[in-house]
C-alpha cells in the first residue's frame, strides 16, 4: 500500500519527461547549441555567450541569496579570481598549454573555496549585514590590489593573452555543417558545456539534503537551529560552493574575451549587474539567472541601436531621435515594469501562476 505522498512522488517521476518544464529546458539548451548556426554575426554570438556565462554566475549567486538568504556583496570577487588566474597563466606567465589552462581553473577554484570558507567562518556567525559589508570590502580590496600590482596583474590596463590550440584566435578547422569552426566557436561550445555542467551541479546541490536545510535557514534560521542544524556551517558550505562555481564562470569569461582587467572582471558595477539579474529573473529559482542575464544583456546590447534604427526610419524628426538617445532611461523604465509586474522575478512569478493554476484544477 502506497501512502498519498509516495503516490504523488511516483506521479511526479512518471511525468518528469512530459512536463512543460522539461520541454522548456530542452528548448533552451537547443537554442544555445544552435545559436552559431542561426545567427552568423559575431555580435549576436557574443551576447548569447555572455548570457550563458552570466546565467551560471547569477545562479551561483542565487544559491547564496535566494536559497540560503545570505546577502553577499562581494560575489564577483570569485569571478575575478577565476578570470585573473586564467589571464595571469596565459598572459603573464606565458604558460599556454591546455594543462596550464586546466591548472589555472583548478587553482582558482581552490583559492576561492578557501577564501570563502575563511570569510564565512569569520563573518557569518555574526550578523547578515556584517557579511554583506565584509564581502564588499574584500572585493574592493582585491579590485585595488589588481589595479596596483602592475607586475602581476597588468594594472588598470589588464592582461591580453592567447589561448592554446583549438581555442586560439587563428585556429580554424574549416567548414563543417555550413559554418566555419574557428577558435571562437570552439570557445563558445567549451564554455557552453562547462556552464551546463555547472548548472547541473547547482541543481543537484539545491535539491540535496544540504540544499533543503539551506531553504529552512532562509525561511526561519532560529527554528532551523532548534532542529539541531548548525546553520552557520551550512551557510559556509553554501557560500564556498557558490564561490567555486563563480570562479569557474570567471575563468570562462576570460577565455571568451581573452582579456582580463579590474573593470571587466572584478568591479562593483558587475556585482550590481548580478544583483539586477537575480532580481529580474527571480530569487530562489536558479533558472531565473538565465532570464535575468538575457534581459540585461539583450537590452544593453540592442537598446542603444534603437537610436540608429529610429534615425534611419524618421530622418526628419529630430525630436524622435533625441528621445531615442536616452536608452538608459528606457532600460530603467523596463526594469521598473518588470519588477512591478513580476514581483518575484520572471521565473518566480511564472512558477507561482503555474502552481496556482494547477491547484485550482485539482
Amino acid at each position: 500500500m502506497m501512502n498519498p505522498v509516495q503516490r504523488f512522488r511516483l506521479g511526479e517521476k512518471e511525468a518528469r519527461f512530459r512536463s512543460p518544464f522539461f520541454f522548456f529546458r530542452i528548448l533552451l539548451l537547443a537554442f544555445f547549441v544552435l545559436t552559431p548556426f542561426m545567427f552568423r554575426s559575431f555580435e549576436v554570438l557574443d551576447v548569447v555567450l555572455k548570457i550563458i556565462i552570466f546565467s551560471a554566475l547569477v545562479a551561483s549567486y542565487d544559491v547564496i541569496l535566494g536559497y540560503t538568504g545570505i546577502v553577499s556583496l562581494g560575489h564577483v570577487l570569485y569571478f575575478g579570481i577565476g578570470s585573473y588566474f586564467v589571464g595571469i597563466f596565459m598572459g603573464k606567465l606565458g604558460w599556454t598549454s591546455y594543462g596550464h589552462l586546466a591548472l589555472a581553473f583548478l587553482i582558482a577554484i581552490v583559492i576561492s573555496g578557501i577564501l570563502s570558507v575563511l570569510i564565512g567562518l569569520f563573518s557569518l556567525r555574526i550578523r547578515a549585514i556584517f557579511f554583506a559589508m565584509v564581502t564588499l570590502a574584500f572585493m574592493e580590496f582585491t579590485f585595488i590590489l589588481s589595479s596596483q600590482l602592475r607586475s602581476i596583474t597588468g594594472g588598470d590596463d589588464g592582461i591580453s593573452f592567447k589561448l592554446p590550440g583549438i581555442l586560439a584566435v587563428d585556429f580554424s578547422y574549416g567548414k563543417l555543417l555550413g559554418i566555419e569552426w574557428t577558435g571562437r566557436l570552439m570557445s563558445y561550445y567549451l564554455i557552453l558545456i562547462i556552464s551546463v555542467i555547472l548548472f547541473l551541479l547547482m541543481l543537484r546541490f539545491v535539491h540535496s539534503p544540504v540544499g533543503r536545510v539551506l531553504q529552512s535557514i532562509r525561511d526561519n534560521e532560529p527554528r532551523s537551529i532548534a532542529l539541531g542544524y548548525r546553520t552557520y556551517l551550512f551557510q559556509v558550505i553554501a557560500s564556498s560552493f557558490a564561490s567555486c562555481v563563480a570562479a569557474v564562470t570567471g575563468g570562462c569569461f576570460a577565455i571568451w574575451v581573452r582579456y582580463v582587467s579590474p573593470d571587466s572582471s572584478l568591479s562593483v558595477p558587475i556585482m550590481l549587474d548580478v544583483l539586477l539579474m537575480v532580481i529580474v529573473g527571480g530569487m530562489g529559482t536558479l533558472y531565473g539567472g538565465i532570464f535575468g542575464a538575457a534581459f540585461l544583456m539583450v537590452t544593453r546590447a540592442f537598446l542603444p541601436k534603437l537610436q540608429i534604427i529610429i534615425a534611419s526610419l524618421l530622418p526628419g524628426v529630430p525630436f524622435a531621435i533625441r528621445l531615442s538617445e536616452r536608452w538608459l532611461f528606457y532600460f530603467g523604465l523596463l526594469f521598473i515594469i518588470i519588477v512591478y509586474f513580476f514581483p518575484k522575478g520572471i521565473v518566480g512569478t511564472a512558477q507561482e501562476i503555474f502552481s496556482r493554476r494547477k491547484n485550482s484544477q485539482d
Binding site: N3, P209, V213, I225
Partner: protein
C-alpha cells in the same frame, strides 16, 4: 530509590537589566516522566525553558543533562544531544510544505545532514516517516500545503509534529495548546497522553491553564515571580496553600 535526573538545573538565574526573571531555580526532572511547569503570566516559565533548551544563556547557575554540564552549549547541539523543543509562538518554516517541515526535523537526526550530492527524495524513508507523524497529529491531508496556508491551530499541531519527529529523549513543550480552538485541544492532549504512556520520553511542559495538566502530569513545578515555590505530585500541588495563594488568590488580590 529515584533514578538520577535527566535534566537538572542548579541555581539557574537570569537577569534582564535589574529585573530577575528566573531566580535560583533548582529543578530536577526524572527520566521518562511528565513534568509540568505552571505559574501565572510573567512567572518566568518560558524564560526558564529557554535556558534549558539553550536559546538564553543564564546569568548564573548551570544546566545539566544526564549529569553533564550543558550550560555553554548552543541550542543546535543540545537538540542533537537529545533535548528537543516546541515554541509557544508558532515557529515553523512558513514557505515550506507541511511534510517538508517534518521531514527536515527527521533529517537533522540522521547522518545525511551534510550530503550535497544526492537528491533529498532519494531518502524516501524520511518522507514516509514524516507522513506517519502527520497522521498522528491529524494533518496528513494537508501534507502538500505550505505551512503558511494552515490555520493557527493546525500550525500548533505541526509544531508538535516537528517535535515528535526530532525523536529526542526530552521533549520541551511550551504551551502546546495556546491559541488553539477549543475543539482542537482534546486531540492534542490525547496525543500527549499517548506519548506519555509509552514511557520512552521525558516530557517537560509549560502551561498556565492548570486543568490541562492535572490528569497528565506526574509532577508539577510551580514558578512564581521567578522562584520555584513548589514541586510535587498534582494532588499535593492542588492542596498546597502557597500555590493557591500565588496562583489563584495572590494574582487577584494584588490586582
Amino acid at each position: 530509590m529515584t533514578p538520577s535526573p535527566i535534566i537538572e538545573t542548579k541555581d539557574l538565574t537570569i537577569r534582564f537589566g535589574g529585573h530577575v526573571a528566573v531566580d535560583h531555580v533548582n529543578l530536577q526532572i526524572t527520566p521518562f516522566t511528565f513534568k509540568s511547569i505552571i505559574g501565572p503570566n510573567g512567572a518566568g516559565k518560558t524564560t526558564l525553558f529557554n535556558m534549558i533548551s539553550g536559546q538564553y544563556r543564564p546569568t548564573e547557575g548551570k544546566v545539566f543533562f544526564k549529569g553533564k554540564d550543558i550550560t555553554p552549549l548552543s541550542p543546535a547541539i543540545r537538540t542533537q544531544l537529545g533535548i528537543g523543543r516546541s515554541f509557544q509562538l508558532t515557529n515553523v518554516f512558513l514557505s515550506l510544505t507541511v511534510l517538508e517541515n517534518v521531514r527536515l526535523a527527521i533529517q537533522s537526526q540522521k547522518d545525511i545532514g551534510f550530503n550535497f550530492w544526492k537528491n533529498y527524495l532519494h531518502f524516501s524513508e524520511l518522507e514516509d516517516r514524516a507522513y506517519e507523524i502527520l497522521k498522528m497529529v491529524l494533518l496528513d491531508t494537508k501534507w502538500n500545503v505550505p505551512a503558511s496556508g494552515l490555520t493557527h491551530g493546525e500550525q500548533r499541531k505541526l509544531e508538535i509534529a516537528i517535535l515528535i519527529a526530532l525523536e529526542t529523549e526530552v521533549l520541551l513543550l511550551d504551551e502546546p495548546t495556546a491559541g488553539m480552538a477549543l475543539e482542537e485541544v482534546p486531540s492534542i492532549l490525547e496525543l500527549l497522553k499517548q506519548i506519555k504512556n509509552r514511557r520512552d520520553k521525558t516530557i517537560l511542559l509549560v502551561e498556565h491553564k492548570m486543568d490541562v495538566l492535572m490528569a497528565l502530569s506526574d509532577s508539577i513545578a510551580v514558578l512564581h515571580e521567578g522562584k520555584l515555590i513548589a514541586d510535587d505530585t498534582p494532588e499535593t500541588i492542588s492542596k498546597n496553600k502557597e500555590v493557591q495563594e500565588a496562583y489563584f488568590g495572590g494574582g487577584r488580590s494584588r490586582g
